[in-house]
Point group: C2
Chain length 216, copies 2
């Protein structure tokens, strides 16, 4: 029982398992092996078994994993079973796209508020969510019990936004701004920097003389 510390990489794979489990369940298959999950996720079966074992023994030896049971347990582990509310800060191109994108796809992670500092945008709607002013952030986050946030504002504004979010009770942030956010407050920050993704991708484009591609 006394669990080992769980690698962040393992946590990041859980939603992938969850998605596949739900696909499998939708096909009325109620038991699945780690080998089958491996085939459908691209991860190795050992890794899947090890990841799941961090959280408990959910399988049956000789049989496999009950899809319904495992899917429910993973939802619980991730905290998705009760529904999670997210605030989006920044209603520019990216913030709007992220809000729309998620509203359409995931009822278990619900966009519960959108904020912007630009008064021209305030009061307008993204799907059916009204854009609120930053001044109301604390109140709305607290009132609606929002615990996660997406930062989609320009770099220079990001740090201040992060502070406001944490002060309002946000515990986990998905940061799309290029600014590194390290407050000495207890908040989990996951950074996704699109410029950096694109720039590092460029490394893998051959151009003849620049480099010797890894091993091959």
């Amino acid at each position: 029982m006394a669990r080992p510390r769980i690698p962040e990489v393992a946590v990041r794979r859980l939603p992938v398992y969850l998605r596949v489990l739900n696909e499998v369940r939708a096909a009325d298959v109620d038991v699945v092996s780690s080998a089958e999950l491996a085939r459908r996720t691209g991860f190795s079966s050992e890794q899947i078994r090890k990841d799941l074992a961090y959280f408990g023994a959910f399988g049956t030896r000789g049989v496999g994993y009950d899809t319904g049971l495992l899917s429910d347990r993973l939802s619980q582990i991730l905290g998705l079973d009760k529904g999670v509310k997210v605030a989006v800060v920044g209603a520019g191109n990216l913030g709007t796209a992220l809000a729309r994108y998620n509203i359409q796809r995931h009822p278990d992670v619900q966009i519960a508020a959108v904020f912007d500092s630009d008064w021209d945008k305030i009061g307008k709607k993204i799907e059916d969510i009204e854009i609120s002013p930053m001044e109301d952030l604390r109140e709305i986050v607290s009132e609606r019990g929002i615990k996660m946030a997406i930062i989609a504002v320009p770099g220079p504004a990001a740090r201040k936004v992060a502070e406001q979010l944490v002060d309002a009770g946000i515990e986990a942030i998905l940061n799309f701004s290029p600014a590194k956010i390290d407050l000495d407050k207890p908040v989990f920050v996951q950074n996704i920097d699109l410029s950096i993704e694109l720039q590092s991708l460029a490394y893998y484009v051959s151009d003849g003389n620049r480099r010797n591609r890894n091993g091959s």
Copy 2:
């Protein structure tokens, strides 16, 4: 000289160094130590030195790194010095946002084409780039010398799009669709799955009884 194989994680840090170097350079500082880079990037100074050493000895002992020189070298290593062209496939919310986002920010990674399969969108413009039909993908990619692509289409369409891209000569893909893409062709794929990011983020939201947060 005979270089060790370079970890992907190290490559992904290079653009961060590049950004900070350019900030430092903009402030007319022309030498910077690994300790200072560490302070400004959040990575450790040893890691920075090791990352840079994978590609050569760019520093001067007792002094530090010449900002201009190192910035130029990193641009070359990443292949950004000549400008890199990217195609965006999928002109929905996300594709449009990504195209706009990048056009505004990064002249060194240039959005050179946008594709969609919806004839209602074709011919319309995102900033000053016309949306082209999928049918023209191969020709345009080849003509304009585009080597990288962003996939921003729904999951089910992603695999076919990826195949078309690779056939057209694309060597590196940033995939925002939930589909895993593994063609047995020589292409580098970086996946960013926003649903998965949000769902795994939820794990780090405490809710009292669900779990014991890692070590602390």
